[in-house]
Protein backbone atom coordinates (compact mmCIF):
# COMPACT_ATOMS: atom_id res chain seq x y z
CA UNK A 1 0.00 0.00 0.00
CA UNK A 2 2.80 2.32 -0.76
CA UNK A 3 0.65 5.05 -2.34
CA UNK A 4 -1.84 5.09 0.47
CA UNK A 5 0.84 5.69 3.05
CA UNK A 6 2.18 8.76 1.29
CA UNK A 7 0.66 12.07 2.39
CA UNK A 8 -0.94 14.02 -0.42
CA UNK A 9 1.38 16.96 -0.18
CA UNK A 10 4.51 14.96 -0.44
CA UNK A 11 4.74 14.96 -4.22
CA UNK A 12 4.75 18.75 -4.25
CA UNK A 13 8.07 18.75 -2.43
CA UNK A 14 9.56 16.88 -5.34
CA UNK A 15 9.22 13.32 -4.13
CA UNK A 16 9.32 10.83 -6.96
CA UNK A 17 8.88 7.14 -6.94
CA UNK A 18 9.77 4.77 -9.73
CA UNK A 19 6.77 2.56 -10.26
CA UNK A 20 7.67 1.12 -13.62
CA UNK A 21 9.46 -1.89 -12.31
CA UNK A 22 6.99 -2.94 -9.68
CA UNK A 23 3.38 -3.95 -9.93
CA UNK A 24 0.65 -1.69 -8.65
CA UNK A 25 -0.98 -2.61 -5.37
CA UNK A 26 -4.53 -3.94 -5.55
CA UNK A 27 -6.11 -0.70 -4.38
CA UNK A 28 -4.43 2.64 -4.64
CA UNK A 29 -5.14 6.32 -4.49
CA UNK A 30 -3.71 9.04 -6.63
CA UNK A 31 -4.20 12.66 -7.52
CA UNK A 32 -5.24 12.97 -11.14
CA UNK A 33 -6.34 15.44 -13.76
CA UNK A 34 -8.95 14.03 -16.12
CA UNK A 35 -7.70 14.66 -19.64
CA UNK A 36 -9.91 12.46 -21.80
CA UNK A 37 -13.13 10.48 -21.61
CA UNK A 38 -14.77 8.01 -23.93
CA UNK A 39 -18.12 6.30 -23.61
CA UNK A 40 -18.20 2.61 -22.81
CA UNK A 41 -21.33 0.48 -22.96
CA UNK A 42 -24.60 1.64 -21.46
CA UNK A 43 -23.49 3.96 -18.69
CA UNK A 44 -19.70 3.59 -18.22
CA UNK A 45 -16.77 5.64 -19.36
CA UNK A 46 -13.08 5.05 -19.95
CA UNK A 47 -11.16 7.94 -18.45
CA UNK A 48 -7.64 9.01 -19.20
CA UNK A 49 -5.99 10.41 -16.09
CA UNK A 50 -2.76 12.32 -15.78
CA UNK A 51 -1.18 11.58 -12.42
CA UNK A 52 1.96 12.82 -10.66
CA UNK A 53 3.49 9.42 -9.95
CA UNK A 54 2.00 7.04 -12.49
CA UNK A 55 2.05 9.29 -15.54
CA UNK A 56 -0.85 8.86 -17.92
CA UNK A 57 -3.19 6.01 -17.01
CA UNK A 58 -6.56 4.81 -18.21
CA UNK A 59 -9.32 3.61 -15.95
CA UNK A 60 -12.93 2.49 -16.25
CA UNK A 61 -15.53 4.46 -14.33
CA UNK A 62 -18.65 2.35 -13.92
CA UNK A 63 -22.19 3.76 -14.16
CA UNK A 64 -20.81 7.28 -14.30
CA UNK A 65 -23.28 8.38 -16.99
CA UNK A 66 -26.31 7.69 -14.83
CA UNK A 67 -27.82 10.76 -13.16
CA UNK A 68 -27.49 9.18 -9.73
CA UNK A 69 -23.76 8.49 -10.07
CA UNK A 70 -21.96 9.84 -7.04
CA UNK A 71 -18.71 10.21 -8.91
CA UNK A 72 -19.75 11.81 -12.20
CA UNK A 73 -19.14 15.42 -11.15
CA UNK A 74 -15.78 14.52 -9.68
CA UNK A 75 -14.64 12.82 -12.86
CA UNK A 76 -15.60 15.38 -15.53
CA UNK A 77 -12.95 16.56 -17.98
CA UNK A 78 -10.66 19.29 -16.63
CA UNK A 79 -11.11 18.31 -13.00
CA UNK A 80 -8.29 17.80 -10.51
CA UNK A 81 -9.39 14.99 -8.21
CA UNK A 82 -8.20 12.46 -5.69
CA UNK A 83 -9.10 9.17 -7.32
CA UNK A 84 -9.22 5.70 -5.76
CA UNK A 85 -8.50 2.91 -8.18
CA UNK A 86 -8.67 -0.86 -8.08
CA UNK A 87 -6.25 -2.75 -10.26
CA UNK A 88 -8.00 -4.79 -12.93
CA UNK A 89 -6.96 -7.45 -15.42
CA UNK A 90 -6.70 -4.92 -18.19
CA UNK A 91 -7.78 -1.47 -17.02
CA UNK A 92 -8.08 -0.22 -13.46
CA UNK A 93 -11.55 0.59 -12.12
CA UNK A 94 -12.34 3.85 -10.38
CA UNK A 95 -13.81 3.09 -6.96
CA UNK A 96 -14.05 6.59 -5.54
CA UNK A 97 -13.31 10.20 -6.30
CA UNK A 98 -13.19 13.54 -4.55
CA UNK A 99 -12.61 16.87 -6.29
CA UNK A 100 -9.58 18.89 -5.24
CA UNK A 101 -10.02 21.70 -7.77
CA UNK A 102 -12.77 21.79 -10.37
CA UNK A 103 -11.42 24.91 -12.14
CA UNK A 104 -14.81 26.59 -12.05
CA UNK A 105 -13.75 29.77 -13.88
CA UNK A 106 -12.64 27.61 -16.83
CA UNK A 107 -15.90 25.72 -16.97
CA UNK A 108 -17.99 28.89 -16.80
CA UNK A 109 -16.24 30.53 -19.74
CA UNK A 110 -16.52 29.32 -23.33
CA UNK A 111 -13.16 30.71 -24.44
CA UNK A 112 -11.29 29.41 -21.40
CA UNK A 113 -12.78 25.95 -21.86
CA UNK A 114 -11.50 25.94 -25.43
CA UNK A 115 -8.01 26.92 -24.21
CA UNK A 116 -8.00 24.27 -21.51
CA UNK A 117 -9.24 21.54 -23.85
CA UNK A 118 -6.38 22.37 -26.19
CA UNK A 119 -3.96 22.02 -23.27
CA UNK A 120 -5.21 18.60 -22.22
CA UNK A 121 -5.33 17.34 -25.78
CA UNK A 122 -1.66 18.29 -26.21
CA UNK A 123 -0.74 16.47 -23.00
CA UNK A 124 -2.67 13.41 -24.11
CA UNK A 125 -1.03 13.38 -27.53
CA UNK A 126 2.53 13.92 -26.34
CA UNK A 127 2.60 11.37 -23.53
CA UNK A 128 2.69 7.58 -23.40
CA UNK A 129 0.97 5.53 -20.75
CA UNK A 130 2.68 4.68 -17.45
CA UNK A 131 5.57 7.06 -17.96
CA UNK A 132 6.05 9.06 -14.82
CA UNK A 133 6.73 12.74 -15.41
CA UNK A 134 6.23 14.79 -12.33
CA UNK A 135 7.39 18.02 -13.92
CA UNK A 136 4.82 17.69 -16.68
CA UNK A 137 2.07 17.05 -14.16
CA UNK A 138 3.10 20.18 -12.29
CA UNK A 139 3.13 22.16 -15.54
CA UNK A 140 -0.35 20.95 -16.46
CA UNK A 141 -1.76 21.74 -13.03
CA UNK A 142 -0.09 25.16 -13.02
CA UNK A 143 -1.33 26.12 -16.44
CA UNK A 144 -4.93 25.22 -15.54
CA UNK A 145 -4.68 27.24 -12.34
CA UNK A 146 -3.16 30.19 -14.19
CA UNK A 147 -5.88 30.09 -16.85
CA UNK A 148 -8.37 30.55 -14.00
CA UNK A 149 -6.61 33.52 -12.47
CA UNK A 150 -4.45 35.36 -15.02
CA UNK A 151 -5.56 37.69 -17.81
CA UNK A 152 -2.66 37.09 -20.18
CA UNK A 153 -4.19 33.86 -21.53
CA UNK A 154 -2.67 33.63 -24.99
CA UNK A 155 0.79 34.08 -23.51
CA UNK A 156 0.08 31.35 -20.94
CA UNK A 157 -0.80 29.02 -23.77
CA UNK A 158 2.44 29.86 -25.63
CA UNK A 159 4.41 29.34 -22.40
CA UNK A 160 2.72 25.98 -21.93
CA UNK A 161 3.50 24.85 -25.49
CA UNK A 162 7.17 25.78 -25.16
CA UNK A 163 7.55 24.14 -21.74
CA UNK A 164 5.68 21.03 -22.87
CA UNK A 165 8.09 20.64 -25.79
CA UNK A 166 10.99 21.01 -23.31
CA UNK A 167 9.52 18.35 -21.09
CA UNK A 168 8.83 15.73 -23.69
CA UNK A 169 12.22 16.13 -25.31
CA UNK A 170 11.53 18.33 -28.32
CA UNK A 171 13.02 21.60 -27.10
CA UNK A 172 13.76 23.57 -30.27
CA UNK A 173 17.29 24.94 -30.67
CA UNK A 174 16.89 28.70 -30.90
CA UNK A 175 20.34 30.03 -30.09
CA UNK A 176 22.49 28.61 -32.86
CA UNK A 177 22.03 27.27 -36.35
CA UNK A 178 21.31 23.53 -36.17
CA UNK A 179 23.38 22.91 -39.28
CA UNK A 180 26.58 24.98 -38.99
CA UNK A 181 26.40 25.56 -35.21
CA UNK A 182 27.11 29.27 -35.65
CA UNK A 183 25.52 31.73 -33.25
CA UNK A 184 22.47 33.26 -34.87
CA UNK A 185 22.71 36.84 -36.04
CA UNK A 186 19.83 39.27 -35.44
CA UNK A 187 18.42 38.98 -38.92
CA UNK A 188 15.58 37.01 -40.52
CA UNK A 189 16.51 33.39 -39.80
CA UNK A 190 14.37 30.33 -40.56
CA UNK A 191 12.68 27.87 -38.28
CA UNK A 192 12.86 24.29 -39.52
CA UNK A 193 10.55 21.77 -37.79
CA UNK A 194 12.35 18.79 -39.33
CA UNK A 195 15.74 19.87 -38.02
CA UNK A 196 14.33 20.80 -34.62
CA UNK A 197 15.48 24.39 -34.57
CA UNK A 198 16.77 27.42 -36.40
CA UNK A 199 18.67 27.60 -39.67
CA UNK A 200 20.81 30.61 -40.54
CA UNK A 201 20.38 32.28 -43.98
CA UNK A 202 23.43 30.38 -45.30
CA UNK A 203 22.10 26.95 -44.31
CA UNK A 204 18.40 27.31 -45.04
CA UNK A 205 18.75 25.55 -48.41
CA UNK A 206 19.46 22.19 -46.66
CA UNK A 207 15.80 21.77 -45.75
CA UNK A 208 13.04 23.28 -47.84
CA UNK A 209 10.42 22.97 -45.14
CA UNK A 210 11.48 25.94 -43.13
CA UNK A 211 9.68 29.12 -42.21
CA UNK A 212 11.14 32.62 -41.92
CA UNK A 213 10.87 33.96 -38.41
CA UNK A 214 11.26 37.53 -37.21
CA UNK A 215 13.96 38.56 -34.75
CA UNK A 216 11.41 39.53 -32.12
CA UNK A 217 9.59 36.19 -32.37
CA UNK A 218 12.84 34.32 -31.73
CA UNK A 219 13.54 36.56 -28.75
CA UNK A 220 10.13 35.86 -27.24
CA UNK A 221 10.48 32.11 -27.80
CA UNK A 222 13.91 32.13 -26.11
CA UNK A 223 12.46 34.08 -23.24
CA UNK A 224 9.62 31.58 -22.87
CA UNK A 225 12.12 28.72 -22.73
CA UNK A 226 13.87 30.23 -19.76
CA UNK A 227 11.26 32.17 -17.80
CA UNK A 228 8.56 31.45 -15.24
CA UNK A 229 4.95 32.57 -14.80
CA UNK A 230 5.89 35.80 -13.03
CA UNK A 231 7.68 36.99 -16.14
CA UNK A 232 4.96 36.10 -18.61
CA UNK A 233 2.24 37.72 -16.55
CA UNK A 234 4.09 40.99 -17.11
CA UNK A 235 4.97 40.29 -20.73
CA UNK A 236 2.94 42.26 -23.26
CA UNK A 237 3.41 41.71 -26.97
CA UNK A 238 1.41 42.89 -29.96
CA UNK A 239 -1.16 40.67 -31.65
CA UNK A 240 0.87 40.29 -34.81
CA UNK A 241 3.88 38.88 -32.96
CA UNK A 242 1.64 36.61 -30.90
CA UNK A 243 0.05 35.26 -34.07
CA UNK A 244 3.46 34.60 -35.62
CA UNK A 245 4.63 32.63 -32.57
CA UNK A 246 1.33 30.77 -32.36
CA UNK A 247 1.58 29.80 -36.02
CA UNK A 248 5.17 28.56 -35.72
CA UNK A 249 4.51 26.52 -32.62
CA UNK A 250 1.46 24.96 -34.24
CA UNK A 251 3.48 24.01 -37.31
CA UNK A 252 6.19 22.48 -35.13
CA UNK A 253 3.67 20.57 -32.98
CA UNK A 254 1.82 19.30 -36.04
CA UNK A 255 5.12 18.14 -37.52
CA UNK A 256 6.06 16.28 -34.33
CA UNK A 257 2.69 14.58 -33.88
CA UNK A 258 2.21 13.99 -37.60
CA UNK A 259 -1.42 15.02 -37.24
CA UNK A 260 -3.67 17.96 -36.54
CA UNK A 261 -4.61 18.79 -32.98
CA UNK A 262 -8.39 18.54 -33.16
CA UNK A 263 -9.25 21.26 -30.67
CA UNK A 264 -7.33 23.88 -32.66
CA UNK A 265 -10.20 24.54 -35.06
CA UNK A 266 -12.60 25.08 -32.16
CA UNK A 267 -10.11 27.42 -30.52
CA UNK A 268 -9.99 29.46 -33.74
CA UNK A 269 -13.79 29.49 -34.06
CA UNK A 270 -14.11 30.89 -30.54
CA UNK A 271 -11.39 33.48 -31.07
CA UNK A 272 -12.99 34.70 -34.29
CA UNK A 273 -16.35 34.93 -32.63
CA UNK A 274 -14.89 36.96 -29.76
CA UNK A 275 -13.31 39.37 -32.24
CA UNK A 276 -16.63 39.78 -34.05
CA UNK A 277 -18.39 40.78 -30.84
CA UNK A 278 -15.68 43.30 -30.01
Amino acid sequence: MIYESLPVTQFRSGYTLNVNNMSEPRNYKTEAIIIKKTKLGEADRILTLYTPRLGKIQAVAKSIRQPKSKMSGHLELLTFSMVSLARGKNLATVTGSQTINSFLPIKNDLKLTAYALYVIELVNQFTGEHIEDHALFKLLLDVLEKLCSEKNRDMILRYFEVKLLDNVGYRPQLRQCVSCRAQLKPTINSFCPGAGGMLCPDCKHINHFCYPISVNAVKILRLLQGCNYNTISRLKINTELDLEIERLLRIYIKFLLEKEIKSVSWLDTIKKQAEKIQ
Partner: protein, 204 residues
Protein backbone atom coordinates in the same frame (compact mmCIF):
# COMPACT_ATOMS: atom_id res chain seq x y z
CA UNK B 1 -16.41 -9.45 -35.03
CA UNK B 2 -15.61 -12.76 -36.75
CA UNK B 3 -17.33 -15.74 -35.19
CA UNK B 4 -16.00 -19.15 -36.01
CA UNK B 5 -19.04 -21.22 -36.94
CA UNK B 6 -17.89 -22.74 -40.21
CA UNK B 7 -19.74 -26.04 -39.59
CA UNK B 8 -23.18 -24.46 -39.53
CA UNK B 9 -25.51 -23.69 -42.41
CA UNK B 10 -24.67 -20.58 -44.38
CA UNK B 11 -27.90 -18.70 -43.58
CA UNK B 12 -27.49 -19.34 -39.87
CA UNK B 13 -23.89 -18.30 -40.06
CA UNK B 14 -24.74 -15.08 -41.85
CA UNK B 15 -27.31 -14.00 -39.28
CA UNK B 16 -24.93 -14.74 -36.41
CA UNK B 17 -22.30 -12.56 -38.04
CA UNK B 18 -24.83 -9.75 -38.51
CA UNK B 19 -26.07 -9.89 -34.92
CA UNK B 20 -22.50 -9.90 -33.63
CA UNK B 21 -22.01 -6.48 -35.23
CA UNK B 22 -24.63 -4.91 -32.95
CA UNK B 23 -23.50 -3.02 -29.85
CA UNK B 24 -23.48 -5.07 -26.65
CA UNK B 25 -23.94 -8.37 -28.47
CA UNK B 26 -21.09 -10.83 -28.33
CA UNK B 27 -20.61 -14.08 -30.25
CA UNK B 28 -22.62 -16.17 -27.77
CA UNK B 29 -25.56 -13.77 -27.61
CA UNK B 30 -25.53 -13.63 -31.41
CA UNK B 31 -25.83 -17.40 -31.58
CA UNK B 32 -28.60 -17.47 -28.98
CA UNK B 33 -30.63 -14.86 -30.85
CA UNK B 34 -30.16 -16.64 -34.15
CA UNK B 35 -31.28 -20.01 -32.84
CA UNK B 36 -34.19 -18.35 -31.07
CA UNK B 37 -35.36 -16.87 -34.36
CA UNK B 38 -34.83 -20.21 -36.09
CA UNK B 39 -37.36 -21.81 -33.74
CA UNK B 40 -39.75 -18.83 -33.58
CA UNK B 41 -42.96 -18.74 -35.70
CA UNK B 42 -42.39 -17.53 -39.24
CA UNK B 43 -44.75 -14.51 -38.87
CA UNK B 44 -42.79 -13.22 -35.90
CA UNK B 45 -39.50 -13.42 -37.75
CA UNK B 46 -40.93 -11.78 -40.86
CA UNK B 47 -42.47 -9.03 -38.73
CA UNK B 48 -39.02 -8.35 -37.28
CA UNK B 49 -37.46 -8.28 -40.74
CA UNK B 50 -40.18 -5.97 -42.00
CA UNK B 51 -39.78 -3.67 -38.99
CA UNK B 52 -36.06 -3.42 -39.63
CA UNK B 53 -36.58 -2.72 -43.30
CA UNK B 54 -39.13 0.01 -42.62
CA UNK B 55 -36.81 1.54 -40.02
CA UNK B 56 -34.40 2.30 -42.79
CA UNK B 57 -36.84 2.94 -45.65
CA UNK B 58 -39.56 4.95 -43.95
CA UNK B 59 -37.73 7.18 -41.51
CA UNK B 60 -36.04 10.48 -42.13
CA UNK B 61 -35.19 13.56 -40.17
CA UNK B 62 -37.99 16.06 -39.57
CA UNK B 63 -37.33 19.07 -41.81
CA UNK B 64 -38.07 21.49 -38.98
CA UNK B 65 -36.61 19.99 -35.82
CA UNK B 66 -34.42 17.09 -37.07
CA UNK B 67 -36.15 14.60 -34.83
CA UNK B 68 -36.67 11.13 -36.32
CA UNK B 69 -39.85 11.31 -38.43
CA UNK B 70 -41.85 9.11 -40.80
CA UNK B 71 -43.04 12.02 -42.95
CA UNK B 72 -41.69 15.48 -43.77
CA UNK B 73 -42.46 16.62 -40.26
CA UNK B 74 -42.26 14.65 -37.02
CA UNK B 75 -45.39 13.91 -34.92
CA UNK B 76 -44.49 16.71 -32.48
CA UNK B 77 -44.09 19.37 -35.18
CA UNK B 78 -47.36 18.22 -36.82
CA UNK B 79 -49.31 18.46 -33.58
CA UNK B 80 -51.42 21.68 -33.62
CA UNK B 81 -51.85 21.66 -29.87
CA UNK B 82 -48.17 22.28 -29.15
CA UNK B 83 -46.87 25.68 -28.19
CA UNK B 84 -44.97 26.90 -31.25
CA UNK B 85 -43.42 29.89 -29.48
CA UNK B 86 -41.00 27.78 -27.46
CA UNK B 87 -38.17 25.56 -28.73
CA UNK B 88 -36.27 23.11 -26.56
CA UNK B 89 -32.78 22.30 -27.86
CA UNK B 90 -31.55 18.75 -27.15
CA UNK B 91 -28.51 16.71 -28.19
CA UNK B 92 -30.11 13.40 -29.22
CA UNK B 93 -33.56 12.24 -30.38
CA UNK B 94 -33.58 9.98 -27.29
CA UNK B 95 -33.56 13.09 -25.09
CA UNK B 96 -36.96 14.03 -26.54
CA UNK B 97 -38.32 10.68 -25.35
CA UNK B 98 -37.13 11.42 -21.80
CA UNK B 99 -38.58 14.94 -21.82
CA UNK B 100 -41.87 13.78 -23.34
CA UNK B 101 -42.11 11.05 -20.72
CA UNK B 102 -42.14 13.68 -17.99
CA UNK B 103 -45.14 15.25 -19.76
CA UNK B 104 -44.36 18.74 -18.48
CA UNK B 105 -43.14 20.40 -21.68
CA UNK B 106 -45.65 21.36 -24.36
CA UNK B 107 -43.51 23.23 -26.88
CA UNK B 108 -41.41 22.18 -29.87
CA UNK B 109 -37.93 20.69 -30.03
CA UNK B 110 -34.72 21.03 -31.98
CA UNK B 111 -32.31 18.09 -32.16
CA UNK B 112 -28.64 19.01 -32.61
CA UNK B 113 -27.46 15.43 -33.23
CA UNK B 114 -24.40 15.81 -31.02
CA UNK B 115 -22.58 18.36 -28.92
CA UNK B 116 -19.49 20.45 -29.57
CA UNK B 117 -16.55 18.30 -28.54
CA UNK B 118 -13.27 19.88 -29.67
CA UNK B 119 -11.06 16.97 -28.59
CA UNK B 120 -13.11 14.59 -30.74
CA UNK B 121 -13.02 17.05 -33.62
CA UNK B 122 -16.76 17.82 -33.48
CA UNK B 123 -17.22 21.50 -34.22
CA UNK B 124 -20.02 23.94 -34.94
CA UNK B 125 -20.58 22.71 -38.47
CA UNK B 126 -20.93 19.06 -37.50
CA UNK B 127 -24.12 19.61 -35.53
CA UNK B 128 -27.37 21.37 -36.44
CA UNK B 129 -26.66 24.81 -34.99
CA UNK B 130 -26.92 26.82 -38.23
CA UNK B 131 -30.27 25.16 -38.90
CA UNK B 132 -31.47 26.27 -35.45
CA UNK B 133 -30.48 29.87 -36.13
CA UNK B 134 -32.24 29.81 -39.51
CA UNK B 135 -35.33 28.44 -37.84
CA UNK B 136 -35.26 31.13 -35.16
CA UNK B 137 -34.96 33.88 -37.76
CA UNK B 138 -37.95 32.64 -39.74
CA UNK B 139 -40.34 31.56 -37.01
CA UNK B 140 -41.99 33.51 -34.23
CA UNK B 141 -40.24 32.10 -31.19
CA UNK B 142 -40.36 33.69 -27.72
CA UNK B 143 -38.11 31.32 -25.82
CA UNK B 144 -35.29 28.88 -26.50
CA UNK B 145 -34.69 26.31 -23.77
CA UNK B 146 -31.20 24.84 -23.85
CA UNK B 147 -31.51 21.24 -22.69
CA UNK B 148 -28.08 19.90 -23.67
CA UNK B 149 -26.45 17.49 -21.22
CA UNK B 150 -24.83 18.98 -18.12
CA UNK B 151 -21.43 17.65 -19.22
CA UNK B 152 -18.50 19.74 -20.33
CA UNK B 153 -19.49 19.28 -23.99
CA UNK B 154 -23.14 20.08 -23.37
CA UNK B 155 -22.27 23.16 -21.34
CA UNK B 156 -19.97 24.42 -24.08
CA UNK B 157 -22.63 23.89 -26.70
CA UNK B 158 -25.17 25.75 -24.57
CA UNK B 159 -22.80 28.67 -23.98
CA UNK B 160 -21.99 28.88 -27.67
CA UNK B 161 -25.63 28.79 -28.78
CA UNK B 162 -26.68 31.41 -26.23
CA UNK B 163 -23.92 33.69 -27.54
CA UNK B 164 -24.98 33.46 -31.16
CA UNK B 165 -28.68 33.78 -30.35
CA UNK B 166 -28.05 36.95 -28.34
CA UNK B 167 -28.06 39.29 -31.40
CA UNK B 168 -31.44 37.89 -32.54
CA UNK B 169 -32.91 38.98 -29.22
CA UNK B 170 -34.84 35.86 -28.22
CA UNK B 171 -35.05 34.87 -24.56
CA UNK B 172 -32.69 31.97 -23.85
CA UNK B 173 -33.09 29.74 -20.81
CA UNK B 174 -31.10 26.74 -19.58
CA UNK B 175 -32.45 23.71 -17.76
CA UNK B 176 -31.83 24.09 -14.02
CA UNK B 177 -28.56 22.53 -12.99
CA UNK B 178 -28.49 21.19 -9.49
CA UNK B 179 -28.96 18.06 -7.48
CA UNK B 180 -30.71 15.11 -9.05
CA UNK B 181 -33.69 13.64 -7.21
CA UNK B 182 -32.82 10.77 -4.85
CA UNK B 183 -29.16 11.61 -4.32
CA UNK B 184 -27.24 12.73 -1.27
CA UNK B 185 -25.70 16.15 -0.80
CA UNK B 186 -22.55 14.64 0.64
CA UNK B 187 -21.50 13.22 -2.72
CA UNK B 188 -22.24 16.28 -4.84
CA UNK B 189 -19.33 17.96 -6.61
CA UNK B 190 -18.32 21.65 -6.56
CA UNK B 191 -19.76 22.53 -9.96
CA UNK B 192 -23.18 21.04 -9.16
CA UNK B 193 -23.30 22.55 -5.68
CA UNK B 194 -22.24 26.02 -6.75
CA UNK B 195 -24.93 26.03 -9.44
CA UNK B 196 -27.50 24.59 -7.07
CA UNK B 197 -26.81 27.47 -4.67
CA UNK B 198 -26.85 30.08 -7.44
CA UNK B 199 -30.12 28.73 -8.81
CA UNK B 200 -31.90 28.30 -5.48
CA UNK B 201 -35.54 29.29 -5.37
CA UNK B 202 -37.97 30.48 -2.77
CA UNK B 203 -39.58 27.46 -1.15
CA UNK B 204 -43.30 27.35 -1.79
Amino acid sequence: MEVNVSNTADSVNRLIQEFAKLPGIGPKSAQRLTYHLLRAPKEQVLALAEAMESLKNNTRLCSACFNIADADFCPICRNNLRDITSICVVEQPQDILALEHSGIYKGLYHVLHGAISPTDGIGVNDIKIDELIERLKNAKVDEVILATNPTLEGEQTAMYISKIIAPIGIKVTRLARGLPFGTELEYADDVTLSRAIEGRQEFK
